[in-house]
Symmetry: D2
Subunit: 377 residues, 4 copies
């Protein structure tokens, strides 16, 4: 360990590091803001370490790393400085590809949660990293945050350790399609409202910020500028996969929510025949239409595929009605709707969320779809 | 065989025979008009035979039979009278459940094609047959006709022998859900036009007849009254599964079709960006809207699930736009859209149609969907 | 059908027909003596028929045929002459490969059971047939007779219709390895005795005859010479797969059997600790040793692989002890023991025998084994 | 973390902790000597930590832990003291089951390698742990050490990080059968000699010691007494699974090995026909016979199942010949041979060793076998 040289992330030549996930102004140390956010290097030498700094309150971050594409380790990181050995005693001349990433979603409920990569230490050289052919942005809720992808089927606590980027259709799809990717997701949130009817918990409201899920004015925001406008031109995806709607659908079956700060009670309502009250359904539809317009504004060329259904397809008619309205209104044919395979008793992970098998099923279907739709390969 | 007694189908007590598939006026001999049309009995005795009469020109019918739910035989039947032994030498006191059915779809292109069940011969007794809990009507194209469900992946002839009810998501779904079922399907046809742009090849135009797929005025029609109005009140489904759209989508990629009888050329058109010409897309949408209205008229209580996607999901936006228009126009919330799993390289049967594995995948997804949607079980 | 020309099987050039299964003196009409016995041709033309003659008493034969490797039909054939259309209306210039074969094992319990292929009728030409790279002989019991490969899991009658060559690891293995193959098998029989302790029901006693399973002196024997010595030199396999032992193992758990003709009672015995009485175990071992010597005598170069375990592996120690004794005694290292995957609750067919999935599992394991063992491919 | 109370492992009531793996004299801190060695507790409270001390030279240990049976984390541990949080912020009243264990095999090539569990820290109470119904001892080589169960298929370094107890048929089998279990295994070792012909690398030579794989006289041995005689009476298994032979078979294909310390060259030889030179084959057989006698001496009632074949079944005849000799010589029928499913191209992990899927296949087959053999359940 003594003979290792330290290299700041910012000092690695851009052709010799892949950085996954959205970035803001701060680049050194490198903040990993979302699940799946991480770095990838190819190095020679017998040994590689990474130095990170983390903080958190209730929801401690988890990290994982892969060697040559295979998961090697996954662990909790509590507040502090961490030096993690990524490999040692390896044959020094063979290039090793290592990806280190954040498992935990951006946490809207923890004002201190952060993962910063400071440097790597190694006794070899950085090599060219694989250049990914495509770029995909995944926008979603708990499904895309990998919630329940770890844990026993009986586990029901809502905790950081059950979420992941490692067992996640977004990561698997990006890998399978040789794509660079971004994840922007939050458990419990919707396109219009959260699972509990909270209208503040909608992804569109945070999409235009670097990481709008971090509370504005929080210590992390102050340090990292997460509430600043995101520079969309810096990274233009070929495809945007929107996997939202599951929580909006759930809200119809939940009790009314009184929000003291807003002084109002919120509730999405059903008719006697179990159909949605049209007025409330239209709230979702309008949110979808506006969000599609926002996505298009910032990503003029991306194909926008609304990919929904891993936890039921209750909102199929609603989402497609909104998408068709958007399509006609904006004369934009570069959108599509694709239903992902539902999670079944055999494919659940913990607390009734998709497990490994469900994420694999979704990956298979989504890859087949995108390859054909985009005429890839 | 000498000691068997012959019982006309019409003489079997209605509680002791299940008849699958639409029926018209003629009941003895019993016409099996569609794939999946058949009879099911439970009998004691050591031996059971069925006597059928068939005819055909180019497209000979195929039949199959099952013993206690397992496929035992499948064979071609050429024009003539056939006595088929369904089992022999079995333990006489044990009741045996036998289902005999037509494999071949109703043939719009063969004016002589028919399968008539005359009688059963047995040395035991008819027992009560299982009463199915539910009724499902499947409306579709080649997928629902089981085209390509038999045959090698390299086979490309368009022949009767490749079609089936035995390897077919409709049959499998009905069995899995313990449902009586009807199939109305035709290879190459759409909701608005056929795969080759022929606007006459649409299922709605024949839906209201007993078996409108048989040419009006043909020998079969004269004998069996297939072009007479179907008595919808005789059989009201709980669910109608509409699996149409695949051929309508294909028509956009085919050459223009000149139809001498109509004196016109037909072509569904695409824009330069590969999207559908709106005028043509609306033809499909209007056909869908009208068809949904027709279905609702005749089946006031049925849930109508448009289940599409086994050969691509190109028409998702189009179908859902039409369904939403229908839904709002008619204030009818008892419709839904569900995407079936696509067929992949590993799941193709012959001539690029779904094979066994694809039909099994569709069955699994559709059963899960219907159980939840209908709150069954 | 009128314009078809009839060609006797014996008139087809040997390079234009593959014949599967053992043959004796009689070649025209061609007897199909075992399950899997059949013919394969490649023909042009639009139509192909086969003319067969069959007979039977209790156990009627079943036949099946494949087009380009895919199963198209399977049916019972009762005593008489049968003309079966194998295809019609096909594109005439494309060569079509057709395999027609017997589903039912050689029947030791039916003195009349036979399937004779007389001729083919066609309107095209015979083409060269695929030449198989390897030859495999499969020797077995009900497992190799495909017993239970058809039928519902609840079916327990012992009937011809549940047996097959179509759903059978022997057929699947031969196809996968591009091998010509013979099957010699009989349900209920063992290497030393039958499942019910009958010592007459052992395969070695019939192995050297053309089809020793047909009763000596029976009508079929008289007509076809099935009890004549088989000409081993006519067909030398590369590998002999022996799948025997399951019934020998079962005999230990059955009641004693008194055989009036022999005036004796037979019973394989267990010790109090459930192990085999050594004296009886040695009966099996001696039978195995003698059988291996018989196999080697007639097949000097074949690798002999004892492949056992699809219905339990109780006899592993016994079989291998005998094989090792044979190996040392004869200085013959060209033998091996390979355990096949057991059948489980999920993979049973009817009457607790291997179903399709079990035969597929066995095929996968056996192919992997033989490829490596024989250094094939 | 401040309000946690520390409890030494030795102070936990024996009914409230399960300890997996062999133990010697030293119990506090608790040494985890083999892969799979670990502790299991059920606790209330919101937070649980474990304090361990580790050391190593080249081959650093890895550890993993599970929550309620699901893997949560896996990480490298370098020399030093480690406090690892096993969970935090959980609902305090619900009992949580946690298993913490060593991933890395006992390392014969690292004189410093150790993992010691000192204590747990918690803010809840220890509850009764599940009592396992059965006890199984697994004896093996790299397969049982989980070598290659982690890592990319292209990885070929021989490193600690690729080995595991978490992706391992032994662990999975024990869990599935609700069994307490011990693992004694070493990569590269055989029953007679190692893969490279080294006759010192045989498991029987170390079996009778607490952990004979640790070098006698090494610092770890001095501290933990690993070379002392193991107290077999302290833990009598119901079944011993011996998965040895793979390296003995490999030795025949390797170059001769000169061992300076022994002043001799070692080589297992093949005949021209690729069969084993009988003299060398008998060395393996004698080793097997002696090992079976040793196992029986120390485990008088255990069923001994030699379960072999995950990396080829070349030694089937050899192993069974030896087992049969043992069986007859010792009149011991309480032994059996069972072949495990081979690893195939689709189921390899890294450096051509079994991956997850192969370990799952082996688990399925072995569980089915043991349940039937032992009449469990």
């Amino acid at each position: 360990m003594d003979n290792l040289r330290k290299v700041l992330v910012s000092d690695i030549d851009s052709g010799k590091i892949n950085i996954f996930g959205r970035l803001g102004r701060v680049r050194q140390p490198l903040p990993l803001l979302f699940n799946g956010s991480g770095i990838e290097v190819v190095v020679t030498g017998s040994e590689l370490w990474i130095d990170i700094e983390t903080n958190s309150d209730f929801h401690e971050p988890w990290v994982a790393y892969e060697l040559n594409g295979a998961l090697m380790a996954r662990q909790m990181v509590l507040p502090g400085e961490h030096s993690i050995c990524l490999f040692r005693n390896m044959e020094p001349t063979t290039p090793k590809r290592v990806r280190f990433y954040r498992e935990l979603q951006a946490m809207s409920e923890d004002d201190y949660c952060k993962v910063l990569v400071k440097d790597l230490r190694l006794n070899g050289e950085f090599c060219e990293v694989p250049k990914y052919k495509r770029k995909i942005e995944f926008i979603g809720d708990s499904i895309t945050s990998g919630e329940g992808s770890y844990g026993a089927t009986t586990d029901i606590d809502w905790l950081a350790m059950y979420m992941s980027a490692s067992v996640n259709y977004a990561t698997m799809t990006a890998k399978e399609l040789e794509a660079d990717y971004h994840i922007i997701s939050q458990g419990g949130w919707g396109v219009f409202c959260g699972w509990d009817n909270d209208p503040r918990h909608n992804i569109p409201s945070v999409y235009e910020k670097v990481c709008g899920l971090v509370a504005k004015g929080s210590p992390v925001d102050k340090e990292l500028g997460t509430s600043e406008d995101y520079d969309f031109e810096s990274w233009q995806p070929d495809v945007i996969v929107v996997n939202l709607g599951t929580n909006d659908a759930t809200s119809f079956d939940q009790v009314p929510l009184y929000i003291p700060e807003l002084g109002e009670t919120y509730k999405m309502r059903k008719n006697a025949d179990d159909s949605y009250v049209r007025e409330d359904e239209l709230k979702i539809e309008n949110a979808i239409i506006s969000f599609l317009e926002m996505l298009r504004k910032h990503n003029p060329k991306a194909h926008i595929a609304w990919c929904y259904g891993m936890l039921g397809s209750q909102l199929n008619m609603t989402i497609t009605e909104a998408m068709n309205t958007y399509r006609q209104k904006n004369r934009d044919e570069n959108v599509s709707f694709f239903q992902l395979p539902n999670t079944t008793m055999e494919t659940y992970g913990s607390h009734m969320h998709p497990g490994l098998k469900s994420h694999q099923n979704a990956t298979k279907a989504l890859c087949d779809y995108l390859i054909e739709k985009m005429d890839w390969k």
